[in-house]
Symmetry: C2
Subunit: 186 residues, 2 copies
Protein backbone atom coordinates (compact mmCIF):
# COMPACT_ATOMS: atom_id res chain seq x y z
CA UNK A 1 0.00 0.00 0.00
CA UNK A 2 1.20 3.49 -0.89
CA UNK A 3 1.51 5.35 2.41
CA UNK A 4 4.02 8.05 1.51
CA UNK A 5 3.84 11.06 -0.76
CA UNK A 6 6.47 13.63 -1.55
CA UNK A 7 7.46 16.21 -4.06
CA UNK A 8 10.46 18.39 -4.60
CA UNK A 9 10.54 21.61 -6.55
CA UNK A 10 12.40 21.16 -9.84
CA UNK A 11 16.15 21.64 -9.35
CA UNK A 12 16.16 24.87 -11.39
CA UNK A 13 13.81 26.74 -9.01
CA UNK A 14 16.11 27.45 -6.09
CA UNK A 15 18.99 28.95 -8.15
CA UNK A 16 16.44 30.78 -10.34
CA UNK A 17 14.92 32.46 -7.29
CA UNK A 18 18.33 33.10 -5.72
CA UNK A 19 19.38 34.97 -8.87
CA UNK A 20 16.15 36.95 -9.11
CA UNK A 21 15.91 40.60 -8.03
CA UNK A 22 14.63 40.34 -4.42
CA UNK A 23 12.78 43.67 -4.62
CA UNK A 24 9.14 42.55 -4.35
CA UNK A 25 7.91 45.90 -3.08
CA UNK A 26 5.08 46.31 -5.60
CA UNK A 27 2.27 43.98 -6.77
CA UNK A 28 3.72 44.16 -10.29
CA UNK A 29 7.09 42.95 -9.06
CA UNK A 30 5.53 40.11 -7.08
CA UNK A 31 3.42 39.05 -10.03
CA UNK A 32 6.46 39.25 -12.31
CA UNK A 33 8.06 36.46 -10.27
CA UNK A 34 4.97 34.24 -10.54
CA UNK A 35 4.92 34.79 -14.32
CA UNK A 36 8.68 34.24 -14.63
CA UNK A 37 8.24 30.92 -12.79
CA UNK A 38 5.45 29.93 -15.20
CA UNK A 39 7.65 30.74 -18.20
CA UNK A 40 10.67 28.91 -16.82
CA UNK A 41 8.52 25.88 -15.93
CA UNK A 42 7.61 25.33 -19.57
CA UNK A 43 11.11 26.18 -20.82
CA UNK A 44 12.57 23.56 -18.48
CA UNK A 45 9.67 21.18 -19.26
CA UNK A 46 8.94 20.55 -15.61
CA UNK A 47 5.19 21.13 -15.76
CA UNK A 48 2.34 23.27 -17.02
CA UNK A 49 2.46 27.03 -17.73
CA UNK A 50 1.53 28.19 -14.24
CA UNK A 51 3.55 29.84 -11.49
CA UNK A 52 2.74 31.17 -8.04
CA UNK A 53 4.47 32.65 -5.02
CA UNK A 54 3.64 33.47 -1.42
CA UNK A 55 4.93 36.65 0.18
CA UNK A 56 4.78 37.94 3.74
CA UNK A 57 3.61 41.40 4.79
CA UNK A 58 7.16 42.74 4.33
CA UNK A 59 7.08 41.53 0.72
CA UNK A 60 9.61 38.82 1.37
CA UNK A 61 9.25 35.66 -0.67
CA UNK A 62 8.19 32.74 1.54
CA UNK A 63 7.61 30.06 -1.08
CA UNK A 64 7.50 29.77 -4.86
CA UNK A 65 5.28 27.29 -6.68
CA UNK A 66 5.13 25.85 -10.16
CA UNK A 67 2.70 23.41 -11.72
CA UNK A 68 3.99 19.86 -11.19
CA UNK A 69 0.93 17.89 -12.33
CA UNK A 70 2.48 15.99 -15.25
CA UNK A 71 6.02 15.75 -13.85
CA UNK A 72 4.95 14.38 -10.45
CA UNK A 73 1.86 12.48 -11.64
CA UNK A 74 -0.40 14.32 -9.22
CA UNK A 75 -3.47 16.33 -10.21
CA UNK A 76 -3.36 18.29 -6.96
CA UNK A 77 0.00 19.91 -7.64
CA UNK A 78 -1.14 23.15 -9.24
CA UNK A 79 1.30 26.03 -8.73
CA UNK A 80 -0.85 27.61 -6.01
CA UNK A 81 -1.14 24.35 -4.06
CA UNK A 82 2.62 23.78 -4.27
CA UNK A 83 3.31 27.30 -2.96
CA UNK A 84 0.75 26.92 -0.15
CA UNK A 85 2.11 23.54 0.97
CA UNK A 86 5.71 24.78 0.94
CA UNK A 87 4.90 28.04 2.74
CA UNK A 88 3.04 26.16 5.48
CA UNK A 89 5.95 23.75 5.88
CA UNK A 90 8.40 26.64 6.04
CA UNK A 91 6.36 28.36 8.77
CA UNK A 92 5.28 25.19 10.57
CA UNK A 93 1.56 25.96 10.62
CA UNK A 94 -1.49 25.15 8.48
CA UNK A 95 -2.95 28.63 8.88
CA UNK A 96 -0.57 31.16 7.38
CA UNK A 97 -2.52 33.99 9.01
CA UNK A 98 -1.77 32.54 12.46
CA UNK A 99 -5.37 33.14 13.56
CA UNK A 100 -5.64 36.42 11.68
CA UNK A 101 -2.46 38.05 12.96
CA UNK A 102 -0.45 37.83 9.73
CA UNK A 103 -1.09 39.04 6.19
CA UNK A 104 0.33 36.68 3.61
CA UNK A 105 -0.27 37.09 -0.08
CA UNK A 106 -0.53 34.58 -2.91
CA UNK A 107 0.41 35.70 -6.41
CA UNK A 108 -0.85 33.38 -9.16
CA UNK A 109 0.08 33.75 -12.82
CA UNK A 110 -3.48 32.68 -13.78
CA UNK A 111 -6.71 32.99 -11.82
CA UNK A 112 -7.23 29.95 -9.59
CA UNK A 113 -9.17 26.92 -10.83
CA UNK A 114 -12.08 25.60 -8.77
CA UNK A 115 -9.76 23.52 -6.56
CA UNK A 116 -7.27 26.31 -5.88
CA UNK A 117 -10.11 28.78 -5.30
CA UNK A 118 -11.39 26.45 -2.58
CA UNK A 119 -7.89 26.04 -1.13
CA UNK A 120 -7.23 29.77 -0.75
CA UNK A 121 -9.36 30.41 2.38
CA UNK A 122 -8.02 27.28 4.13
CA UNK A 123 -4.44 28.40 3.51
CA UNK A 124 -4.72 31.56 5.58
CA UNK A 125 -3.52 33.95 2.85
CA UNK A 126 -5.21 37.34 3.01
CA UNK A 127 -4.58 38.66 -0.48
CA UNK A 128 -4.70 37.02 -3.91
CA UNK A 129 -3.02 38.62 -6.90
CA UNK A 130 -4.00 37.25 -10.31
CA UNK A 131 -2.37 37.65 -13.74
CA UNK A 132 -4.20 35.94 -16.59
CA UNK A 133 -7.97 35.51 -16.39
CA UNK A 134 -9.92 32.25 -16.40
CA UNK A 135 -10.96 32.92 -19.98
CA UNK A 136 -7.31 33.28 -21.03
CA UNK A 137 -6.60 29.78 -19.69
CA UNK A 138 -9.74 28.44 -21.36
CA UNK A 139 -8.74 30.08 -24.64
CA UNK A 140 -5.71 27.78 -24.84
CA UNK A 141 -7.67 24.72 -23.73
CA UNK A 142 -7.31 24.55 -19.95
CA UNK A 143 -10.37 23.84 -17.82
CA UNK A 144 -10.78 26.06 -14.75
CA UNK A 145 -13.54 23.87 -13.33
CA UNK A 146 -16.96 24.73 -11.92
CA UNK A 147 -16.39 27.92 -9.93
CA UNK A 148 -18.90 30.37 -8.55
CA UNK A 149 -19.22 33.15 -11.13
CA UNK A 150 -18.82 35.60 -8.24
CA UNK A 151 -15.67 33.88 -6.92
CA UNK A 152 -13.69 37.08 -6.22
CA UNK A 153 -16.58 38.40 -4.13
CA UNK A 154 -16.81 35.05 -2.30
CA UNK A 155 -13.16 35.40 -1.28
CA UNK A 156 -13.61 39.04 -0.34
CA UNK A 157 -16.53 38.07 1.92
CA UNK A 158 -14.04 35.84 3.72
CA UNK A 159 -11.62 38.70 4.24
CA UNK A 160 -9.35 37.90 1.29
CA UNK A 161 -8.54 40.79 -1.05
CA UNK A 162 -8.50 39.85 -4.73
CA UNK A 163 -6.57 41.93 -7.25
CA UNK A 164 -6.99 40.88 -10.89
CA UNK A 165 -5.32 41.66 -14.21
CA UNK A 166 -1.85 42.36 -12.86
CA UNK A 167 0.47 42.08 -15.86
CA UNK A 168 -2.27 40.10 -17.55
CA UNK A 169 -0.70 40.43 -21.02
CA UNK A 170 2.62 39.01 -19.79
CA UNK A 171 0.84 36.08 -18.14
CA UNK A 172 -1.22 35.41 -21.26
CA UNK A 173 1.92 35.42 -23.40
CA UNK A 174 3.23 32.43 -21.43
CA UNK A 175 -0.05 30.53 -21.87
CA UNK A 176 0.09 31.22 -25.60
CA UNK A 177 3.73 30.11 -25.85
CA UNK A 178 2.77 26.85 -24.20
CA UNK A 179 -0.16 26.31 -26.55
CA UNK A 180 2.06 27.02 -29.57
CA UNK A 181 4.51 24.39 -28.37
CA UNK A 182 1.55 21.98 -28.19
CA UNK A 183 2.19 21.27 -24.53
CA UNK A 184 0.02 18.76 -22.73
CA UNK A 185 -3.34 20.29 -21.81
CA UNK A 186 -4.97 18.63 -18.79
CA UNK B 1 14.16 27.90 1.01
CA UNK B 2 11.68 25.08 1.54
CA UNK B 3 11.80 22.99 -1.64
CA UNK B 4 10.55 19.65 -0.38
CA UNK B 5 7.21 18.46 0.90
CA UNK B 6 6.17 15.06 2.13
CA UNK B 7 3.60 13.31 4.19
CA UNK B 8 3.17 9.80 5.47
CA UNK B 9 -0.10 8.22 6.52
CA UNK B 10 -0.24 7.78 10.29
CA UNK B 11 1.42 4.50 11.34
CA UNK B 12 -1.90 2.98 12.43
CA UNK B 13 -3.48 3.16 8.94
CA UNK B 14 -1.67 0.32 7.19
CA UNK B 15 -2.31 -2.34 9.89
CA UNK B 16 -5.86 -1.02 10.34
CA UNK B 17 -6.60 -1.52 6.66
CA UNK B 18 -4.79 -4.87 6.57
CA UNK B 19 -7.05 -6.12 9.38
CA UNK B 20 -10.24 -4.77 7.80
CA UNK B 21 -12.70 -7.02 5.95
CA UNK B 22 -11.61 -6.67 2.30
CA UNK B 23 -15.13 -7.20 0.97
CA UNK B 24 -15.92 -3.81 -0.56
CA UNK B 25 -18.54 -5.15 -2.93
CA UNK B 26 -21.30 -2.68 -2.00
CA UNK B 27 -21.35 1.13 -1.64
CA UNK B 28 -22.27 0.68 2.04
CA UNK B 29 -19.18 -1.45 2.65
CA UNK B 30 -16.93 1.02 0.86
CA UNK B 31 -18.39 3.93 2.80
CA UNK B 32 -18.02 1.97 6.04
CA UNK B 33 -14.25 1.97 5.53
CA UNK B 34 -14.16 5.74 4.96
CA UNK B 35 -16.18 6.27 8.13
CA UNK B 36 -14.08 3.79 10.11
CA UNK B 37 -10.98 5.72 9.04
CA UNK B 38 -12.57 8.99 10.20
CA UNK B 39 -13.39 7.47 13.59
CA UNK B 40 -9.94 5.96 14.04
CA UNK B 41 -8.29 9.24 13.01
CA UNK B 42 -9.84 11.05 15.95
CA UNK B 43 -9.33 8.12 18.33
CA UNK B 44 -5.63 8.08 17.46
CA UNK B 45 -5.51 11.91 17.45
CA UNK B 46 -3.85 12.06 14.05
CA UNK B 47 -6.19 14.63 12.47
CA UNK B 48 -9.73 15.79 11.93
CA UNK B 49 -12.85 13.58 11.79
CA UNK B 50 -12.73 12.84 8.07
CA UNK B 51 -11.87 9.70 6.13
CA UNK B 52 -11.82 8.76 2.46
CA UNK B 53 -10.85 5.90 0.21
CA UNK B 54 -10.37 5.25 -3.49
CA UNK B 55 -11.52 1.99 -5.05
CA UNK B 56 -11.08 0.55 -8.51
CA UNK B 57 -13.86 -0.84 -10.69
CA UNK B 58 -13.38 -4.27 -9.09
CA UNK B 59 -14.00 -2.70 -5.67
CA UNK B 60 -10.42 -3.18 -4.60
CA UNK B 61 -9.03 -0.54 -2.27
CA UNK B 62 -6.37 1.54 -4.02
CA UNK B 63 -5.70 4.18 -1.37
CA UNK B 64 -7.11 5.26 1.98
CA UNK B 65 -7.04 8.85 3.18
CA UNK B 66 -7.48 10.61 6.49
CA UNK B 67 -7.44 14.28 7.38
CA UNK B 68 -3.86 15.30 8.23
CA UNK B 69 -4.31 19.10 8.37
CA UNK B 70 -3.32 19.68 12.00
CA UNK B 71 -0.85 16.81 12.32
CA UNK B 72 1.11 17.71 9.16
CA UNK B 73 0.58 21.49 9.32
CA UNK B 74 -0.91 21.59 5.86
CA UNK B 75 -4.35 22.96 5.00
CA UNK B 76 -4.44 20.98 1.75
CA UNK B 77 -4.34 17.57 3.42
CA UNK B 78 -8.05 16.84 3.64
CA UNK B 79 -8.87 13.12 3.59
CA UNK B 80 -9.98 13.22 -0.05
CA UNK B 81 -6.79 14.98 -1.18
CA UNK B 82 -4.64 12.49 0.71
CA UNK B 83 -6.45 9.56 -0.93
CA UNK B 84 -6.22 11.15 -4.40
CA UNK B 85 -2.50 11.90 -4.07
CA UNK B 86 -1.71 8.38 -2.79
CA UNK B 87 -3.85 6.65 -5.45
CA UNK B 88 -2.17 8.63 -8.22
CA UNK B 89 1.27 7.76 -6.82
CA UNK B 90 0.30 4.09 -6.56
CA UNK B 91 -0.85 4.03 -10.20
CA UNK B 92 1.80 6.37 -11.56
CA UNK B 93 -0.55 8.76 -13.33
CA UNK B 94 -2.31 12.05 -12.56
CA UNK B 95 -5.52 10.99 -14.28
CA UNK B 96 -6.93 7.96 -12.51
CA UNK B 97 -9.37 7.41 -15.38
CA UNK B 98 -6.46 6.95 -17.81
CA UNK B 99 -8.18 9.10 -20.42
CA UNK B 100 -11.63 7.76 -19.59
CA UNK B 101 -10.82 4.04 -19.72
CA UNK B 102 -11.01 3.33 -15.98
CA UNK B 103 -13.74 3.88 -13.39
CA UNK B 104 -12.31 4.75 -10.01
CA UNK B 105 -14.48 5.78 -7.10
CA UNK B 106 -13.87 8.11 -4.17
CA UNK B 107 -15.75 7.47 -0.93
CA UNK B 108 -15.73 10.44 1.46
CA UNK B 109 -17.11 10.30 4.99
CA UNK B 110 -18.41 13.88 4.58
CA UNK B 111 -19.38 15.73 1.41
CA UNK B 112 -16.36 17.49 -0.09
CA UNK B 113 -15.51 21.08 0.83
CA UNK B 114 -15.02 23.66 -1.91
CA UNK B 115 -11.37 22.64 -2.44
CA UNK B 116 -12.04 18.90 -2.59
CA UNK B 117 -15.06 19.48 -4.84
CA UNK B 118 -12.74 21.28 -7.25
CA UNK B 119 -10.13 18.52 -6.97
CA UNK B 120 -12.51 15.67 -7.85
CA UNK B 121 -12.73 16.26 -11.64
CA UNK B 122 -8.94 16.73 -11.94
CA UNK B 123 -8.31 13.44 -10.13
CA UNK B 124 -10.01 11.30 -12.75
CA UNK B 125 -12.41 9.53 -10.37
CA UNK B 126 -15.76 8.76 -11.97
CA UNK B 127 -17.94 8.23 -8.89
CA UNK B 128 -18.18 10.06 -5.58
CA UNK B 129 -19.86 8.44 -2.57
CA UNK B 130 -20.71 10.78 0.31
CA UNK B 131 -21.67 10.01 3.92
CA UNK B 132 -22.45 13.07 6.05
CA UNK B 133 -23.84 16.19 4.37
CA UNK B 134 -22.29 19.65 4.27
CA UNK B 135 -24.80 20.82 6.84
CA UNK B 136 -23.75 18.04 9.22
CA UNK B 137 -20.16 19.30 9.11
CA UNK B 138 -21.37 22.88 9.54
CA UNK B 139 -23.51 21.85 12.50
CA UNK B 140 -20.37 20.95 14.45
CA UNK B 141 -18.51 24.07 13.32
CA UNK B 142 -16.62 23.07 10.17
CA UNK B 143 -16.64 25.38 7.16
CA UNK B 144 -17.27 23.69 3.80
CA UNK B 145 -16.32 26.82 1.87
CA UNK B 146 -18.05 28.61 -1.00
CA UNK B 147 -19.38 25.84 -3.22
CA UNK B 148 -21.90 25.98 -6.02
CA UNK B 149 -25.27 25.10 -4.49
CA UNK B 150 -25.73 22.68 -7.40
CA UNK B 151 -22.34 21.02 -6.88
CA UNK B 152 -23.54 17.41 -7.34
CA UNK B 153 -25.08 18.39 -10.68
CA UNK B 154 -21.85 20.18 -11.67
CA UNK B 155 -19.92 16.95 -11.09
CA UNK B 156 -22.54 14.90 -12.91
CA UNK B 157 -22.26 17.23 -15.91
CA UNK B 158 -18.58 16.28 -15.97
CA UNK B 159 -19.39 12.57 -16.02
CA UNK B 160 -18.92 11.97 -12.31
CA UNK B 161 -21.72 10.12 -10.52
CA UNK B 162 -22.52 11.45 -7.06
CA UNK B 163 -24.27 9.26 -4.49
CA UNK B 164 -25.18 11.01 -1.24
CA UNK B 165 -26.37 9.98 2.22
CA UNK B 166 -24.66 6.60 2.35
CA UNK B 167 -24.59 5.63 6.03
CA UNK B 168 -25.10 9.30 6.81
CA UNK B 169 -26.06 8.64 10.44
CA UNK B 170 -22.84 6.69 11.07
CA UNK B 171 -20.75 9.45 9.51
CA UNK B 172 -22.55 12.13 11.53
CA UNK B 173 -21.95 10.17 14.74
CA UNK B 174 -18.19 10.54 14.21
CA UNK B 175 -18.50 14.30 13.62
CA UNK B 176 -20.53 14.59 16.82
CA UNK B 177 -18.02 12.52 18.80
CA UNK B 178 -15.28 14.87 17.66
CA UNK B 179 -17.28 17.94 18.63
CA UNK B 180 -18.01 16.47 22.07
CA UNK B 181 -14.29 15.90 22.59
CA UNK B 182 -13.79 19.59 21.73
CA UNK B 183 -11.40 18.74 18.92
CA UNK B 184 -9.79 21.53 16.96
CA UNK B 185 -12.19 22.99 14.40
CA UNK B 186 -10.43 24.60 11.44
Amino acid sequence: MQTHFEFELPAWVEPFVAGYDPDFSTPDKRMALAIALSAENIKKQTGGPFGAAIFDSNHQLIAPGVNLVPSKNCSILHAEMVAIALAQQALGRYDLSDAGQETYELAASTEPCAMCFGAVPWSGVKRLLCGARDEDARAVGFDEGAKLSEWPEALQERGIDVVRDIARADAVAVLNDYAKQQGTIY
